[in-house]
Symmetry: C2
Subunit: 467 residues, 2 copies
Amino acid sequence: MANDLSAYFLTNHERHLNELSEWLSIPSISSLSAHKKDTVKGAEWIVRELKRIGMEKVEVYPTQGHPVVYAERLHAKEKPTVLVYGHYDVQPVDPLHLWESDPFKPAIRDNKIYARGATDDKGQTFMHLKVVEALLKEHGELPVNIKFLIEGEEEIGSINLPEFVEKNQELLFTDVIVISDTGMQEKGQPALCYGLRGLAGLQIDVKGAKGDLHSGQFGGAVQNALHALVHLLDSFRNEDGVIQVERFYDKVKDLEDEEKKVHDSLQFSDKELKKELEVNDLAGEKGFSTLERMWVRPTLEINGMWGGYQGEGLKTVLPNEAHAKITCRLVPDQDPDEIIRLLTAHIEAHTPAGVTVAVTVYDKGAPYVAPYDHPAIQAAGRSYEKIYDVPVQYIRRGGTIPIVAEFDQILKKPVVLMGFGLPGENFHAPNEHFHLENFDYGLRVITDYLQELPKALEKSNDLTQKL
Amino acid sequence: MANDLSAYFLTNHERHLNELSEWLSIPSISSLSAHKKDTVKGAEWIVRELKRIGMEKVEVYPTQGHPVVYAERLHAKEKPTVLVYGHYDVQPVDPLHLWESDPFKPAIRDNKIYARGATDDKGQTFMHLKVVEALLKEHGELPVNIKFLIEGEEEIGSINLPEFVEKNQELLFTDVIVISDTGMQEKGQPALCYGLRGLAGLQIDVKGAKGDLHSGQFGGAVQNALHALVHLLDSFRNEDGVIQVERFYDKVKDLEDEEKKVHDSLQFSDKELKKELEVNDLAGEKGFSTLERMWVRPTLEINGMWGGYQGEGLKTVLPNEAHAKITCRLVPDQDPDEIIRLLTAHIEAHTPAGVTVAVTVYDKGAPYVAPYDHPAIQAAGRSYEKIYDVPVQYIRRGGTIPIVAEFDQILKKPVVLMGFGLPGENFHAPNEHFHLENFDYGLRVITDYLQELPKALEKSNDLTQKL
């Protein structure tokens, strides 16, 4: 492999980690307004870095929310263009006491880097910058044209990005979109993700009497907001884990036999998962395998719930307020707006007497399934196989990258989900980390892919035009 | 009314309120260990005050928890003995932001004193001390023998008091027990409470996977602790508000026709209650009137519930922990220990697969119904009528004073629930307050009662002996 930059990456390993740690130290939590300035800092850091490595037209585009960062380098004449998408925002860190080290003081333990955003998604986005830097330093120029689009609202549903993409189709014109924000199934086993679930999220606020009441004085006579909420939330799923929201499954496509075979080939082990998560039983929709429940079936999960007295001991209060946050993961061809309408109708129909309920709509994102036989995707598979030296797996993921479906609809180009995360890396949870083994392999996979892509697309010019 | 001390009480009104404010300023919250020292301060304050007004043998008895304060003055030879019970501990104050003034900086607005404990129970207990002080100052001696028993654990189920009462039966020997810790139905309408509900409370802790999980990655495959809790909590009551815990109602006595007539005579208005609480509908067990649901039917209420993400916006987490606090109000002849066993069995039977549940037992208290035709109770009714100048109502209350049933069982003497609170005074809730009008009337009612009691008991000596 003449064009392999392994030696370069090894030499620069420590510098890379120091730079990444700097970025990971910025608490750019997009959902919390108290961190508004930090998200700007997160954007500024990546802007400085993009300029430093040799990207051009590096610009910050303000939005209604957190800014979008764009950069390009278009000197590879008659070569394909690759749009790399990533995000500089991260999830909140609570419960903080469960972190073994400060989420914003990156720590390396056992060849893993621990920090909020280590794998989702600063760590994975950062690899693409390092590959560009390496190629420019070692080869003087890039083998393809590259555009970067790095946003700050992925964790809150990419609220403003679709409008930006819609308005800037020319700026973002590309042959392929590459995103590293997913993962593989197990260590040493590379995987290319060709499908993601969508998302529809909302908050439910229940209000009863004018204030909290004494549970002895009024208990039995007045609706308790917590009981009303519990009843409402329990009405969403039945004992078999089947979602009871009317027409919820109407648009869900049946799994094709071919994909079932792919699932079978993965030899997924329920036993292993139970062991990993330390549970006695798995749960979920009856009649579907665990992989199906995680990848190709829609879900409804309560993400948070609270009300009444939460302190030490008891307080004999009859609470007048109760709150819950729920999200649904969606699969083709469910439409997030329609699902929000169905959920709202269900809530209205199941609100007990004596309380009022308000619904606030949050994140939305459509599901996405890529044509995994597309040459740009197949080329990615070959790069994985070359570097990891094992056959690549084609998988779907249960998570959501809200902008993926929008890219598909607006830019009409294939999205290559070239992820390097691992299942136990605590995405969105305490002690998020990224295996440095995959950081090292990933740099080489991306390098190889950018070099091999022109050939792959040349051969299948027709197909590319069609998509 | 030669023995009326109205003039004295008027002269000393301001001093009384200043003294009460001092006591109310001590945050003696018994359920929170952070306030351990404050509960001791609450006890010390009342000890100093008991000594100052002329009580004797004033002593602090340590318990496993918060101390018990005892005092006596036994110079009324051949007169009955009255044991006054009260409590110096108070409920927690959250949600703090809903208080219009600091819960521990007593404020007088619109002839009401606002503070935690104003009505429950420092304000009401304090009246008895002021009556003793007044009688001693104005008459030189008390018309009856008086004992005070003031504890610091009423709000946490009087955990240690039964043992104290059991061990100190001689010290506490009395003819009648008087407690001012209840209320009347409406302003200007005195009421004597002859029945209280009991209490059984516990906390439920649900534990799922080893940690919080990503709701996209694992959603649909693993039991969400919040869903498990919601399912468990919703299983406690059916759509008609009937508690579904097996054998829960087995020991509940039917309401006697005579008492039904008393209820009817009270002309309770659902419409008024809805207006007062600002709700469109009342709720609760089908087939029972609102008064019945509040006074003579048992309940199961969720007092608090929490788990997962409770911050701004969404966090797409699949929480591995969920918690709830519940209490049941009990009626004769339900036994708190048995109810705890039934609840625990129900929880075990309804725990969904994939989670484990732990139960922590908190407060317990038996229900109590007094013989309201007892002369000590009838005498109290006459004192109310004399001072308020309207017929007294005989009512039951939905709340619990845990020690009342124990007094009944151990001391075998009637308990006179001579309350001066009002329904809207926010017992256990933000902006607790006490109407000073009832503070003023109350002092005179108690004064009259202590003077009239010897005659009343003399006449019905047989009956007293029998009880």
